[in-house]
Symmetry: C2
Subunit: 334 residues, 2 copies
């Protein structure tokens, strides 16, 4: 089986190539096919020949400035369109892309295709929690900014199946992001979604405030893509802010600098725990192949982790699981 | 002038009493009137007599379990209803309340009253930023969860006037919370609000991602109350998470513990910078008196800072400024 890695729209193609090569070395049963321009491959600066790594050259990339739907039609030679056509081949396990979120999600929805019954595919990013080693899935983390209540209920169904299949958790704890933990709290959308999710055969723990979303109690946080994006990005921003202030505190005096030398290993562990690269990209659930949208500024680590997430989704046949789960769920699109 | 402090619905009445006494000592020109039950005042455990501090006893409190509109009518002897009736007296400068957010905002809207032309009063909380000493105002931080685009535009107008009047910043930088920094990014509400705010005579810097909301560039972040609440609470949650992991890192080895001893003062400064108590409560703009909703778990510091915010709002006559600003702005309610 092959895994397609679109490096066209990312910030550091040489890092994504490095990560793809690491994944190729660690997973000799898979062929890794990276898609980018010749210049991007040359930016790697070293020999990238490997028996199970293939460079697919294209002449164009889709950028953040392109309108997604337009670009997909007008740029047939772009890395993303080429990558999707490769993903649609039968011997492809899935796709990792570092391209613009809008373009990747539009291309995956239109060209890979939605599973039957899926209202809207959901971007289901993973985040660290207060409990070491435990992650939480934020569904939606930014794809569907104008989501209806029934979309949110189906996000819960898809994320539940994803977590069950890939993590071994038998009955994922599902929380609904709201402005208070009481049942009646929320905007109109959230209040309607609450009733729909409550009626589903899920381990639904009710409303959860953003403050508690990463406390390690929940496996899935369900939300619309707008507030999910705010949750994910403010967490990133605040972690960066606190780490910046910690750095400032360390540099503020000689005593602190000496103290930091003693704490070097612990501070390094803290930095690693808060490094979003370690959690890879966000899977896009509800389409016909495993698709992982990785950060535009992905490095070697996040690229490798994203590829390994595609392997896990492929080996646990998450696509069939979601197709079956959505077919039997009451929120399904007719 | 007197300032009313409602301690009825808060978690630690003795701390709010302590903070109110500190404020009374620091501001002898003001009378501080605290409203709570006899038991709450007794919980202070010390003598609270002061020439400019007055205890107003009530027999009832409104809790988080009460329906706000219902409770205001059914509990005339509650601390909140009593506090509001005192605020409405002519010699009152304003209110600080540690009660349930819903009840305080409903009571302020209905019993203090909206200013003419105001669609919806806005909760305009202050948060720390990456720039030491610089705060950012999140408008709305949780009051209006189903806000229309024209509400958001008016939040911008009111928060701009508030920041101008109370901070001395001449031309506050306004950002609109969205899922990307490009002009066209956002859900339908945000895209419509963008066009409305752009047309106003404000220093509008366009869309801002949650990741950058606290970077110190912006003075005001405009958003609906749902995503504003997510922004504020996920920031609190993440700061707590990172500080918790830092604590864990320190305790993980003897070396780290020794290092932390050297860093004691710097770590304390870091903790202070991230302590939300230091920023006091959130002003509720668009009603006829200064109202500050302070955290349910307020301590002495946040109570005192909240009272001082009421003093600042009173002395800069923020109510008249907003009344005049809203009257001339195109987004005003007819």
């Amino acid at each position: 089986m092959k895994i397609i890695v679109d490096i066209g729209g990312c910030d550091f193609p040489h890092k994504m190539i490095g990560g793809a090569l690491e994944a190729a070395a660690a997973h000799p049963d898979y062929d890794i096919v990276a898609v980018g321009t010749k210049e991007q491959f040359e930016s790697y600066g070293k020999d990238y020949t490997r028996s199970n790594f293939f460079a697919e050259y294209v002449t164009d990339v889709i950028t953040n400035d392109d309108s997604p739907t337009h670009a997909i039609r007008q740029k047939p030679n772009s890395s993303l369109v080429k990558a999707i056509s490769l993903v649609n081949e039968e011997d492809s396990a899935g796709l990792v892309s570092g391209g613009s979120t809008g373009a990747v999600l539009t291309a995956a929805t239109l060209l890979v295709g939605r599973l039957k019954g899926v209202h809207r595919p959901v971007l289901a990013g993973l985040m660290p929690t207060a409990v070491d080693g435990k992650l939480v899935c934020i569904a939606d983390s930014g794809a569907n900014v104008d989501a209806k209540p029934e979309f949110l209920a189906q996000f819960a169904v898809m994320a539940d199946l994803y977590i069950k299949a890939t993590s071994g958790i038998e009955s994922p704890v599902i929380g609904l992001l709201s402005v208070g933990s009481e049942d009646k709290k929320g905007d109109e959308r959230t209040k309607a979604a609450f009733q729909l999710i409550k009626a589903l055969p899920l381990n639904f723990a009710g409303n959860v405030e953003a403050r508690d979303a990463l406390n390690g109690v929940y496996d899935v946080i369900v939300c619309d893509g707008f507030s999910g994006n705010v949750l994910v990005k403010s967490t990133e921003g605040t972690a960066k802010l606190v780490m910046g202030k910690l750095k400032g505190a360390i540099k503020s005096s000689l005593r602190s600098k000496i103290g930091a030398l003693f704490m070097k290993k612990s501070l390094y562990n803290l930095k690693s725990a808060m490094d979003y690269h370690a959690y890879g990209g966000a899977p896009f659930l509800g389409v016909k192949k495993p698709v992982v949208k990785t950060h535009g500024s992905s490095n070697e680590l996040s690229t490798r982790v994203s590829i390994e997430n595609v392997i896990r989704m492929h080996e646990h046949d998450i696509v069939s699981a979601i197709a079956a789960g959505v077919a039997t769920d009451a929120t399904t699109e007719a």
